[in-house]
């Protein structure tokens, strides 16, 4: 019972920050709208290119041209939710280096969760709108498939956030890893938007472990095409394990954290 209560409290906590961040972004309404529209246009442009490409050069192994829409929709929605809800994760390494965690250590909430949700990337809403729009308009799914899509996108969002936490937390051990985290995020998002059919051997193994692009695009694609409970359990298990590893590395690193004696306030 207390577990459910904790879950509800945590969700309300995340929701409160999400609303506050959205209200802050809406203070600059024109800029916010411009960023959202630009991101929708950006994603649509990429999808248009790949749609054209795969219609002209269909791959083998049962690849269909609509698969690229599924891959882009899940990856964009996952990334969008990740950056809208956990928008501070890309800055984690800089916060660790600059003593920016001080403001969170005295708070009664979980430090990692609190740090991750205090900022939001306004353009992420464009990714979410694009993904949902593309999935509904192009693939015309039934309600069950749409619900499954949302569930998978939420899991992809957790994978993106955990991935950034892992590489950001390396700053506790290796110094400034902000650049490394950015490069690795670039690699994860790039690998996530291409068919897995083109990768083999060690690269494929890496894409299901160190850079888990396979769980952001390939497994969701399989589930949306041919649903199976064991595969969904595998996807959920990996997501939870990856999130637990991220939290573990952060907690381990936090023991090494030295305050910057930084005077400031959480904004």
């Amino acid at each position: 019972m207390s577990l459910i209560k904790n879950c509800i409290r945590t969700l309300r906590f995340i929701g409160a920050y999400l609303v506050a961040n959205l209200q802050a972004a809406m203070e600059y309404r024109a800029a916010f709208i411009a960023q959202v529209i630009t991101m929708i246009a950006n994603d649509s442009l990429w999808l248009f290119f790949w749609w054209t490409y795969f219609r002209q050069f269909p791959l083998v192994h049962g690849w269909q041209s609509t698969n690229i829409v599924v891959i882009w929709a899940v990856a964009a929605c996952g990334f969008g939710i990740g950056m809208a809800v956990f928008g501070n994760t890309p800055r984690l390494a800089a916060l660790i280096m600059n003593g920016g965690l001080d403001a969170y250590l005295g708070m009664p909430r979980n430090v990692l969760l609190h740090v991750c949700i205090t900022a939001s990337d306004p353009s992420a809403w464009g990714d979410i709108m694009f993904a949902i729009g593309a999935f509904l308009l192009i693939l015309r799914p039934d309600p069950l498939h749409f619900a499954l899509f949302l569930l998978l996108a939420l899991q992809a969002a957790l994978i993106f956030a955990a991935f950034l936490v892992i590489f950001g937390s390396l700053a506790f051990f290796l110094g400034n890893t902000e650049g490394l985290a950015q490069q690795m995020l670039g690699a994860l998002t790039t690998f996530s938007t291409y068919p897995m059919n083109i990768f083999t051997g060690v690269v494929r193994l890496l894409l299901f472990t160190v850079v888990p692009a396979g769980f952001v695009s390939f497994v969701p694609l399989q589930l949306l095409q041919r649903f199976s409970w064991p595969l969904l359990a595998g996807m959920t298990g990996f997501t939870l394990l990856f999130a637990a590893i991220a939290a573990g590395i952060f907690q381990l690193g936090l023991k090494r954290y030295e305050s910057g004696n930084l005077l400031g306030m959480q904004n």
């Binding site: 024109a30 442009l45 490409y53 050069f57 791959l59 670039g186 690699a187 690998f191 291409y194 068919p195």
Partner: protein
């Protein structure tokens, strides 16, 4: 006699002014190169994403060639395709955050201090941008070439292509500067310029041929993309290096020069209007 002396004096004065300007902006380019070489490891770090992108695209093209059961696709072999991708990604990924810098200088008011310097704000920024971009371009080229050598082996470039590539690439960098500097100046009027920069960048990447040569596009998209100025930034220089053809090189040069001339005129017009909005207060 007097007229001849006056004309000679004017020519001498103009030459001296040009020579001094070249020295001045040349010094800014050198300082910018030195500044960026000081953080050369960071630039190498950034080039890692280029490795990822070229690797993925080369895998994709290998699969496409294999699925089609052909060795030549739209006039490109797999080797030429990978070298084309390296050339295009080298230019695309060497772009510094120019728009963001100009945007911040406008918003923070730092522009007012820079305007007081004995140099043109536009040319000073161009020299600084060129230095930064040349360092990134060179490192990207080294990293990309090593990867391409490993993946597909030696390229089959012609001497003409190798000699023409620096010229068309320099013109491409100038076109990029004009576009991104102009977008940065929009900070005088809009709350947000990064959106415009993002859209321009994506149009350059997708319609400019960073993922594949424009020959693979179906018609009429191919003709539209080739006619647009974006193709002069990535596709034109990369194709010149990989598949040099004199019949295509001359029209490309004209297209680049016209794009640059029109872009520069628009930029100068925007700049003149923008500068009138600067208020300098003492203090």
């Amino acid at each position: 006699m007097d007229t001849s002396i006056t004309r000679r004096g004017a020519i001498y004065h103009a030459r001296r002014t040009l020579s001094l300007s070249l020295q001045k902006y040349g010094a800014v380019v050198r300082v910018s190169i030195a500044n960026n070489l000081a953080y050369v490891m960071e630039v190498f770090f950034r080039a890692l994403l280029l490795v990822v992108l070229v690797f993925i695209l080369s895998q994709l093209w290998r699969t496409t060639f294999s699925a089609r059961g052909t060795k030549i696709l739209s006039g490109f072999s797999i080797s030429a395709m990978v070298w084309y991708l390296v050339a295009a990604e080298t230019i695309a990924m060497s772009l510094p955050a120019l728009t963001r810098r100009i945007d911040q200088e406008v918003r923070s008011g730092q522009l007012a201090y820079l305007l007081g310097r004995p140099s043109s704000y536009v040319f000073y920024n161009f020299a600084q941008y060129l230095g930064e971009r040349l360092v990134r371009l060179t490192i990207n080229l080294v990293v990309g070439s090593i990867l391409a050598l490993i993946v597909v082996g030696l390229p089959h470039f012609t001497w003409m292509g190798i000699l023409a590539w620096p010229l068309v690439t320099l013109l491409a960098l100038c076109i990029d500067f004009v576009a991104y500097f102009g977008i940065g100046l929009l900070a005088f009027w809009t709350e947000e310029t990064s959106s415009f920069a993002l859209i321009f960048s994506r149009l350059t990447l997708v319609l400019g041929g960073v993922l594949a040569p424009l020959e693979i596009f179906p018609q009429p998209l191919r003709s539209i993309a080739q006619a647009l100025p974006f193709s002069t930034i990535l596709y034109g220089p990369s194709r010149t290096l990989v598949h040099f053809e004199p019949d295509r090189f001359v029209p490309l040069l004209w297209q680049q020069l016209i794009t640059l001339a029109v872009g520069s005129l628009i930029l100068l017009a925007v700049y003149r209007v923008a500068i009138r909005r600067v208020n300098i207060n003492g203090g």
